[in-house]
Amino acid sequence: MCDLFALSAKKDYSAPEFLPIFAVRAKKNMDGWGIGFFRKQHALVEKSAEQIFHSGQLHDSFQRLARVVKSRIIICHLRFRTSGLVDECHAHPFVLKFGGHDWLFAHNGKAPAIESYKSSGIAIKDAISDSARAFEYLRDCMEDHHRHDEKPEKLFNTLADSISQMIDQYPGDYNFLLSNGHLLFAFTNHRQFMFMKGSEKLKGAFLLTTLARGLTKEKWLRVAKATNRRGLLLAISGNDVILHQSI
């Protein structure tokens, strides 16, 4: 199963300590890696199909990027292939532009049903996987809501409705991070998220990961969907969870 990492902060932040810790703790995921971040509202992604950890060493480029990438929101994905090929096109995060934003999306889960989804919009180039189709589905659904919803549109509700619709039409295990540069959304219906804020080491940042023990010895908070609900959606801005709601 892939693993996810996200950092959200009040101002541009780099994660030279935490990205390598995440990579080492999630090194069983050998099918590629990617780091997504924002510069002047534009989403940028550096990714590779190579192993994150080889011959006892963390991938050289990953280490360098961890030192250099600086952004209010950073998303990292370590891939364990369950759908699609092992190549750079299939490494996450993916980028799509819609609703006036660049969006980053990274997914960890298994939803074979959605592989058959055909978007009427721009497809993610050369990616044939459940994750790419799930992102396109959410984009299409959110754009549709945007056209028809009463104004002002409420982004949290739009995304929550789109996720519900996706799970209805294409049931599966979804666990993803989605960001437009000033908001980070995290959704899960099958695995936990661990998160941490307020640590002195973090200096005003918020960290989130799918790794069950978190990334440090401090106490991380575990959140997961309630057994009688379909999923859990969090909205994070700066170093705060603004909303978390069961779907």
């Binding site: 009040k10 006036g100 934003h101 002002p152 549109e153 437009n180 000033h182 801005s237």
Partner: protein, 246 residues
């Protein structure tokens, strides 16, 4: 009645057009003005007890500030004679630091008795205006709720804080509360007008108490449901993230 304006963007925005329009539209409120904004994560406030509009001109400093401020979130307040505050220190927005953020607060409304409120936290806002007491009350509640549950979501915490406020000090409230990342707007009596505008650098969101909005475009009214205690919105970048009854 005073007026308030908030601007939220996904990038550092310079309000050179909308702040002067706001000043003109609120020109009946002649008792001073304030502009709050953020540099990195620090809140800064510029205010003046002078008239924002005089001899058909927007106040010179107000105009200059509108041209040079650049911030993701900007809050402005134009003061009416009824609200007290004839010294610049008494004007909004107010600034307090708590829960790891600098926060800005600006309010229009009518609230009885809250002047007697004594904060349990520090710092205290050393001005004798009731809006300062409202801000302290909300700060105290948010800090208390956070101590009880450090991972409480901010929207839920503020909703509870407002419920407590309305219970202890019933009144007419319309306010903005913002940190460097997101902005809350609450109203229980005056409607707020909201508009998303495309600018060259990207979209921005405008929210104001000016009843007709700031332009001829179709502004969307946010009207509190009379059956509820009020409407609370949270805005991040140019988007309304969530809006709900309190």
């Amino acid at each position: 009645m005073c007026d308030i304006l908030a601007i939220s963007a996904g990038y550092n925005y310079t309000p050179k057009d909308y702040l002067p329009i706001f000043a003109e539209k609120s020109s009946e409120n002649m008792n001073g003005w304030g502009i709050g904004f953020f540099r990195e994560d620090k809140a800064l406030v510029e205010k003046s007890a002078e008239q924002v509009f005089s001899d058909q001109q927007v106040h010179e400093s107000f105009q200059r500030l509108a041209r040079v401020i650049d911030s993701r979130i900007i809050i402005s307040h134009i003061n009416c004679p009824k609200s007290g505050g004839h010294h610049s220190a008494q004007l909004h927005p107010f600034n307090l630091t708590f829960l790891d953020h600098d926060w800005l607060f600006a309010q229009v409304g009518v609230v009885e008795n809250i002047n007697a409120y004594q904060t349990r936290e520090t710092p205290r806002l050393e001005v004798d205006v009731y809006t300062a007491r409202i801000f302290e009350y909300l700060r105290d509640q948010l800090v208390l709720l956070h101590h009880k549950n450090p991972y409480i979501s901010v929207y839920i915490a503020l909703r509870i804080a407002i419920q407590e406020l309305l219970d202890d000090y019933p009144g007419k409230y319309t306010f903005f509360l913002a940190n460097e990342s997101f902005l809350f707007a609450f109203c229980n009596f005056r409607q707020l007008m909201i508009l998303k505008v495309s600018e060259s650098m990207g979209d921005i969101l405008l929210v104001t108490s000016v009843k007709e909005g700031l332009s001829r475009t179709d502004w969307h009214p946010i009207t509190p449901d009379p059956q509820s205690l009020g409407e609370l919105l949270v805005i991040a970048g140019p988007d309304v993230l969530y809006a709900g009854d309190v």
